[in-house]
């Protein structure tokens, strides 16, 4: 089975977000970049399927040289090779299109992604890729089984799960719960340094969206803090009154 995993290189979740001078991006100073956490679930799932059915796992990323780090991380987990599509990420659609152009020639049986990249939290690439490649897709998947040429995926939805049958080749985006990603062992980290990363130079098409501004959400919380001081009953009543009369939410 040939499996492609799309990986993105994103700021660590604990990053303190400061808006850059241009007012449109985050200030990259002091920001640590990591393999997108949801992509770890995708890589892990690919590796498990390879262990079961044999085959090949290829990690693909769109971005600058820095994105090689994300690919390297996937290689250290056990992917066989990497592809870096070197281009400016002009907008999400452009990234999806660049991925689609490369994946078209790969003939993969399965394409795995994370459910969202934790920078713009868009959840866009998997469905866009599905349209561009004319493939079935299931997103936010917490369980995946292969039965012949059909993939059976369970997707998280409001109030429960949906079971989806997809004819392969297909696209799956991974949610936490799909598996427990392995930690790369030291020997595997060393081995990953020898694994090939193919570089493809590409040009992104014109963006369809543009960022007007980025700002921090303004805090408009009331912030009324009550102290128990030995009388829980009194503060409880006070809070109930506030919620009823001031906030009018109960």
């Amino acid at each position: 089975m040939k499996i492609i995993v799309c990986v993105s290189h994103v700021p660590d979740t604990t990053t303190k977000v400061n808006v850059a001078a241009d007012g449109k991006n985050i200030d990259p100073a002091g920001v640590k970049f990591i393999l997108n956490p949801y992509d770890e679930f995708a890589v892990e799932e690919a590796l498990r399927l390879k262990e079961k059915y044999s085959g090949e796992v290829i990690a693909v990323s769109v971005g600058s040289d820095a994105s090689k780090e994300a690919i390297r991380q996937a290689l250290a987990m056990g992917a066989d090779k990497g592809i870096l599509i070197k281009a400016d990420k002009s907008d999400t659609f452009a990234v999806a299109e660049l991925l689609a152009n490369t994946l078209k020639t790969q003939g993969a049986d399965l394409i795995l992604l994370g459910k969202q990249s934790i920078d713009f939290d868009g959840m866009e690439i998997a469905p866009m890729l599905a349209e561009l490649l004319d493939m079935p897709a299931a997103t936010v998947v917490v369980s995946l089984q292969i039965e012949g040429s059909t993939a059976i995926a369970e997707k998280e939805v409001e109030g429960g799960k949906e079971k989806i049958a997809l004819s392969m080749p297909c696209i799956i985006s991974a949610q936490k719960g799909l598996n427990d990603p392995r930690y790369p062992s030291l020997p595997n980290i060393m081995k990953a340094k020898q694994k090939p990363i193919e570089e493809i130079a590409a040009t992104a098409s014109a963006p369809r969206t543009s960022v007007i501004k980025m700002d921090k959400p303004e805090k408009k919380r009331i912030g009324k803090i009550l102290q128990v001081d030995g009388n829980a009953n009194a503060v409880a009543q006070q809070l109930a009154q506030l919620l009823h009369e001031e906030a009018k939410v109960i």
């Binding site: 469905p127 429960g160 963006p207 369809r208």
Partner: protein, 323 residues
């Protein structure tokens, strides 16, 4: 401006976030609003519901294969309806299905797309759409530069219209050729946890954190939730410990919620937790540590021991609600 809204159906009813999209459409200055449904439910049932929402027109598709939902096929239907209606804007509520559909529809219409919109501002023909990024630590405001624009709107932030319209919506059955390959992803089964309100849909949420010490104490959370008519949520620490199922987790790796009232009990307020709930209308925190970060983002807080406060609060709320 012609605006097309996707009406998401579950068990014969249009879901609330789809109705909320009508307010978003009105805010954008829609001159004409239509809706599209892609399901096997009969047009008359849906028409009755659309009538209440004051929608002028409904596009349907008469295809029994929609008995099993397919995002691939549904995206095709929505895109065709957008073309038939000459839609300038397509709005799809950012439900789990909507987040899956909207990017597909955007690709089909060669349209720019902004996900999970929490606010619009309109200046002439220019639309600015704001959506939270970096786990809610920042907002970006985007402009879509294509003629046709697709947005998904975050549930629970907009109001579904209340007034009853007497207008009968006209129903147009789209004629399009869907072949088997359009249905190559099919939903076979919807497995709902019985009788439990989901955090993603609830108007009030009571969330418990690690400070509650163990699953044996969840009765306290459930009692308060019952008195408020709320769903119960959990922090990741609680889910990782196996006290509560992942479906209840709120936050970056769980669900994003924006209820009217969010009550966080013995939750420290880590940034990844805040990511999932900071757009809630009113936030209440109960924590014994006065320096817990959750207090920095709450409207009302109680510094105290949850084990002492919860039974009292449940009773106080029952009293308020009784009167």
């Amino acid at each position: 401006m012609n605006i097309l809204i996707y009406f998401e159906e579950r068990n014969g009813s249009i879901r609330k976030p789809s109705f909320e999209a009508i307010e978003a459409a009105t805010k954008l200055g829609a001159s004409s609003i239509a809706a599209v449904v892609a399901s096997a439910s009969s047009a008359s049932v849906l028409n009755e519901q659309a009538k209440r929402a004051g929608i002028a027109k409904i596009f349907t598709v008469d295809d029994a294969r929609f008995g099993e939902y397919s995002s691939k096929a549904a995206a095709k239907v929505i895109a065709e309806a957008a073309k038939a209606f000459n839609a300038d804007v397509v709005i799809i509520a950012a439900t789990s299905r909507g987040k899956d559909l909207a990017p597909r529809v955007a690709v089909r219409l060669a349209a720019g797309y902004v996900p999970d919109v929490t606010n619009f501002s309109v200046n002439g023909s220019t639309i600015h759409a704001t959506h939270p990024v970096y786990a809610g630590k920042a907002n970006v405001t985007m402009e879509v530069t294509t003629a046709v624009k697709v947005f998904s709107t975050r549930p629970n932030l907009w109001k579904a219209p209340k007034e009853l319209s007497t207008n009968e919506a006209s129903v147009e059955a789209l004629s399009l050729n869907l072949d088997e390959s359009d249905f190559s992803d099919r939903t076979k089964e919807l497995m709902l946890s019985q009788g439990k309100l989901d955090v993603a849909e609830a108007d009030i949420i009571v969330t418990g954190g690690r400070g509650l010490k163990g699953p044996e104490n969840w009765g306290l959370i459930e009692n308060l939730a019952t008195s408020l008519g709320a769903a119960t949520g959990a922090s990741r620490a609680v889910v990782d410990a196996g006290w509560r199922p992942h479906s209840e987790q709120v936050g970056q790796t769980g669900k994003t919620v924006s209820p009217t009232l969010y009550v966080a009990i013995a939750v420290s307020g880590a940034i990844q937790h805040l990511a999932g709930m900071s757009s809630s209308k009113t936030i209440v925190a109960i924590n014994k540590d006065a320096n817990a970060p959750i207090f920095a983002v709450c409207d009302y807080g109680i510094v105290g021991d949850a084990f002492e406060v919860l039974p009292q609060l449940t009773e106080a709320i029952n009293n308020v609600r009784r009167h």
